[in-house]
């Protein structure tokens, strides 16, 4: 167990270092690796939303998924299962993304933003923690989405194949793929480098079960610091690189791809933390699980993509200027929906 913890700390540190380095090699500031933002960019690249500044097939995501797939095969963790209330998972994934895009980042980016001096990261992380705590209340009350059952091995190949297809689109750049010419979507590291970094993160996250919501959840649920040690190490790794690079700018105002509407930063990430707790993991973890043959996690990823499309098509997503026209309504609807699921999907209900 001790060796596992050391491995987790090393893995978290490496992820933090790589994420911060990726901003030097071209990715947006404090967004070296943001799983929600990168799914949002992929959604835009596929034309599912038309926000022109956030459209790019981020190879990091495909790398993470394929790295985890290879790792799962090598270490015999590949096990195909599914059928645990997939439709609910789809909607929880969708609302996760809506919350994350009001904050402008997933729980990974909240850590990276803080490591870059963006104090709005604290507000976001507070939201994640409170969301996880409310999620724990539902878990202790008997919440679960039911048992998954085993399925044919080939079914588990669907998500890795989808990721391979996206990678081929990224390499071949066919005419139907959209690419930002300005804004965060136009800022990216070289494709090969992004892919390799993704592959490394995918393997590390698969082996350690790294989770940026599970870490906070386990602190309160079982007083266990294993997953949290990865989050803390990621923060330290990113902070060190940012300090060396001179890119730490402490404050709330004028931070890259961020706004200062604290209530909505908090509530957006509250929604993200709550949905991820009910789903059993953050988008990074869902990506890893989907690559290991968990088709419910695959559905969750499709929910994340739908959430990104809805966010930008219906003016729910924030921008550096502040929240979108309908952000507040969407977050409140998301909180009501997720709490209802928490209540009604309980063994006590």
């Amino acid at each position: 167990m001790r060796n596992l913890r050391i491995f987790m700390i090393v893995a978290g540190f490496v992820v933090g270092v790589l994420a911060a380095l990726m901003t030097i090699f071209g990715n947006p500031a404090n967004m070296g690796v943001c799983v929600a933002c990168f799914y949002r960019d992929i959604t835009g690249a596929l034309g599912f939303h038309r926000a022109e500044v956030v459209q790019y097939l981020r190879p990091e995501i495909m790398g993470i998924a394929l790295g985890a797939f290879i790792s799962a095969l090598l270490f015999r963790d590949y096990r195909v299962r599914g059928g645990s209330n997939s439709l609910i998972r789809f909607f929880l994934g969708m609302f996760f993304m809506i919350g994350a895009l009001v904050f402008l980042g997933c729980p990974v980016r909240a850590i990276l933003r803080l490591a870059g001096g963006d104090l709005n990261g604290i507000t976001g992380l507070l939201g994640v923690v409170v969301g996880a705590v409310i999620g724990i209340y539902f878990l202790k009350r008997g919440f679960n989405l039911g048992r998954a059952t085993s399925s044919k091995k080939a079914v588990g190949l669907l998500m890795p194949l989808m990721m391979l297809g996206l990678l081929l689109f990224a390499i071949g750049n066919p005419r139907f793929i959209f690419s930002s010419t300005q804004g965060p979507g136009s800022m990216y590291a070289a494709l090969g480098l992004s892919l390799v970094v993704g592959l490394i993160i995918g393997v590390l996250a698969q082996r350690t079960r790294m989770c940026f919501v599970g870490g906070w959840r386990d602190l309160f649920l079982v007083k266990d610091t294993y997953l949290f040690s990865g989050i803390a190490a990621c923060f330290v790794g990113a902070l060190i690189v940012n300090l060396v690079a001179g890119s730490v700018k402490v404050g709330f105002v004028d931070q890259p791809v961020a706004h200062t509407m604290h209530l909505w930063n908090f509530l957006g990430m509250f929604l993200a933390g709550l949905t991820a707790t009910l789903l059993g993991g953050c988008p990074l973890r869902q990506t890893i699980l989907a690559s290991e043959g968990d088709t419910d996690a695959g559905i969750t990823i499709l929910g994340l993509i739908a959430g990104a499309a809805v966010s930008h098509n219906f003016l729910l997503a924030s921008s550096a200027k502040g929240i979108g026209v309908f952000s507040a309504t969407a977050v409140i609807i998301g909180i009501i929906f997720t709490c209802s699921i928490g209540f009604f999907m309980s063994e006590e209900a």
Binding site: L139, N144, A148, T149, R209, V222
Partner: protein, 73 residues
Amino acid sequence: MIKIDVRGFACPIPVVKTQKAMKENPGRELLIICETVVSKENVSRLAENKGYKITEEKDGQDYRLHLKPQDKI
């Protein structure tokens, strides 16, 4: 012995169910049946933190974790 079957449940449900069984049955041996390595690791880590001795056996595709309270050893 209390038997808890957590097969098919995703993280963190196996841990939540094991923790509940520990609280409701202090001092009693538990048998947890799970099917993924992740569930096995998570339940084992909880049991270790709570002072249980863990004996693990493989049963086909499943794992059977015998959790014995330390004061019973």
